[in-house]
């Protein structure tokens, strides 16, 4: 069976959920071969094998952390040449898309970004994309070269399928371009202990209606009662009430959880672009005419300062 390269997104060997989704999708079109760059390959290999990786190609070098993007492209290209895969799958993070983009140019292959589903087709993998703020769903193919496809988080439920997961060292020679952009310093983000926004099953977001950073504790309280991630609209982020990393929308994160709760958010097209594919949508807004109500499964027209605390109390008491 044809091999499919899967680029591994991980934190020091802790494999992130979107990679497990990729392995699951990869099995529809071939045998997954995982590419793990950086530290922690041994720990990662166990997880990758559990989700179907027949092989794990690994490389570690200071270049991956010291320079931007290109060293990882060099390594992925080395894996590509070693394996001659039927497709290359990369998680749709900002960095993942850039890695995929440069690889596509190098190997002369078409690229599809932000796929939300993937299936085998008569003429190669067929990718579903959700475009124009999720108002259209398209099916596309790569017609030249080896399909390079980036896949959005929450596009498939990870399914375990134990495989060999044989670990092999990958020989990488870094090209002259690899040291072009130096990472002079790096300030890691503090962990909030809450689920990752793009991976969470439930997201609770606050907008301009939250009216102040101190009031975001209300949104956080509801999120914590539900085990949810916290999101924000750009208006709330621009006002400095919540970090930009939590922004949901066209220029923020795109989320596709089981449940999305929008409080004090009007539902502008750019916000909808990032949450419209959520399975169940709930809104709390004091304006009955707010466009967000066109999307909801359940909406409450009311003051979020009344509704949210009551909801949080009720969730807590029901959960005991």
């Amino acid at each position: 069976m044809a091999e499919v390269l899967v680029y591994v997104d991980h934190v020091d060997g802790a494999v992130r959920k979107p990679t497990l989704e990729l392995l699951t999708l990869a099995r529809r079109i071939g045998e997954p071969v995982a590419v793990h760059l950086g530290a922690g390959a041994d720990a990662a290999a166990r997880t990758l094998a559990e989700y179907g990786a027949v092989k794990v190609l690994t490389a570690d070098a200071p270049e991956f952390a010291d320079y931007l993007v290109v060293p990882k492209v060099d390594a992925l290209q080395a894996a590509f040449e070693a394996v001659s895969p039927a497709a290359v799958l990369v998680p749709s993070s900002a960095e993942g898309k850039e890695i995929a983009a440069r690889l596509a140019v190098r190997i002369g292959s078409g690229i599809i970004t932000d796929a939300v589903d993937l299936e085998a087709g008569a003429e190669g993998p067929v990718a579903t994309q959700s475009v124009f703020a999720a108002s259209y769903s398209t099916k596309s193919r790569v017609t030249k070269g080896t399909p390079v496809i980036t896949v959005k988080p929450n596009s498939a439920a990870p399914e375990a399928a134990p495989a060999a997961g044989t670990v092999e060292q990958l020989a990488v020679s870094f090209g002259s371009a690899s040291t072009g952009t130096k990472v002079v310093s790096r300030t890691p983000r503090e962990s909030t202990g809450r689920p990752e926004l793009t991976e969470a099953a439930i997201v609770v977001s606050g907008g301009r209606g939250v009216n102040g950073s101190e009031n975001f504790s209300l949104i956080e309280g509801l999120a914590d009662s539900l085990g949810a991630a916290v999101g924000a609209s750009r208006a709330a982020v621009d006002a400095g009430w919540y970090p930009h990393t939590n922004q949901v929308g066209q220029t923020g994160k795109s989320v596709s959880p089981q449940l999305y709760i929008a409080a004090g958010i009007s539902g502008a097209i750019q916000h909808r672009a990032g949450m419209q594919t959520s399975k169940t949508i709930v809104a709390i807004n004091k304006d009955a005419e707010a466009p967000i109500f066109d999307l909801v499964d359940y909406g409450v027209v009311g003051d979020l300062f009344e509704v949210v605390p009551q909801l949080t109390e009720e969730v807590k008491s029901r959960k005991g």
Partner: protein
């Protein structure tokens, strides 16, 4: 020494309009008004600020697009860019990301550059891949997704706010930069700027000017193919209740019914 800046700007269908696909599954551009992609306004703004800091800088705005794409160039010129280049050719219809980056790379080389500045993503395709592709094709450093950018002493520096960390980046010129919408509000064109823009030069180039063949771009040359585009059915209207004091409890009841609690 002069600093040559090329800003890549895309002409896109207005996102607040009713965007559609045409018969051949490319974007229907007749149906909805086009404009300069709002995210590229941030690129123009940063170019203007970098030029202000430099002794002698020239900003060229570059677009690859149909006849109407001149509107996007005029907007950028009215913001303060000096001149414009429009790559226009019937054979470009349906070009994909690989093809677009190829045309842009040729055009950027044609213009001559020390710095290329792009938006973080277009507001239609929204792939966010063209700047990285451009850097790869030009063989120069990519300094992308910056929320802060500065140029001095032949170097570009900037801050990239990623998911896991915030990074401070540095590269030598020439380089390709992309900026996010966190980089600073774009200015509105002044009346004087709008009047001045009418007199600024717009150079038109076609594929042959760039040494490209029709087969390398357009729908024919594309590396990808859209087989289907289906409009999603509108979501069926949900339940909307007015809070009369029990709104939070009613919502909890709904969430429990859906097994979220």
């Amino acid at each position: 020494m002069s600093l040559r800046i090329v800003v890549c700007v895309k002409y896109v269908p207005d996102a607040t309009g009713d965007r559609h696909f045409a018969e051949d599954l490319t974007v229907d551009r007749d149906d909805v008004d086009g404009l300069l992609s709002e995210l590229d306004e941030y690129a123009v703004e940063q170019a203007l600020q970098i030029a202000d800091e430099a002794d002698d800088a020239e900003i060229t705005v570059l677009t690859v697009g149909p006849e109407d794409a001149k509107d996007a160039l005029r907007k950028a010129l009215s913001m303060g860019a000096h001149k414009a280049v429009h790559v226009e050719d019937d054979d470009l219809h349906g070009t994909d990301a690989l093809g677009t980056s190829l045309v842009l790379a040729k055009a950027v080389e044609h213009v001559g550059y020390d710095l290329v500045i792009s938006g973080m993503a277009s507001t239609d395709g929204g792939m966010g891949v063209v700047p990285a592709m451009l850097a790869e094709r030009l063989g120069v450093p990519q300094v992308t997704l910056l929320s802060e950018v500065a140029v001095a002493d032949g170097k570009v520096t900037g801050r990239r706010d990623g998911d896991a960390a915030s990074e401070q980046l540095e590269a030598s010129l020439p380089a390709v930069v992309s900026v996010t919408d966190q980089s600073g509000e774009a200015r509105y064109p002044s009346f004087k700027g709008i009047m001045a823009a009418k007199k600024k030069p717009v150079e038109s180039l076609d594929l042959s000017d760039l040494g490209l063949e029709a087969e390398e771009v357009g729908l024919e040359g594309a590396w990808t193919k859209v087989d289907e585009a289906n409009e999603r059915p509108a979501r069926t209207a949900g339940t909307v209740v007015k809070d009369e004091g029990e709104g939070g409890k009613q919502l909890a009841e709904f969430l429990a019914g859906q097994k979220f609690i």
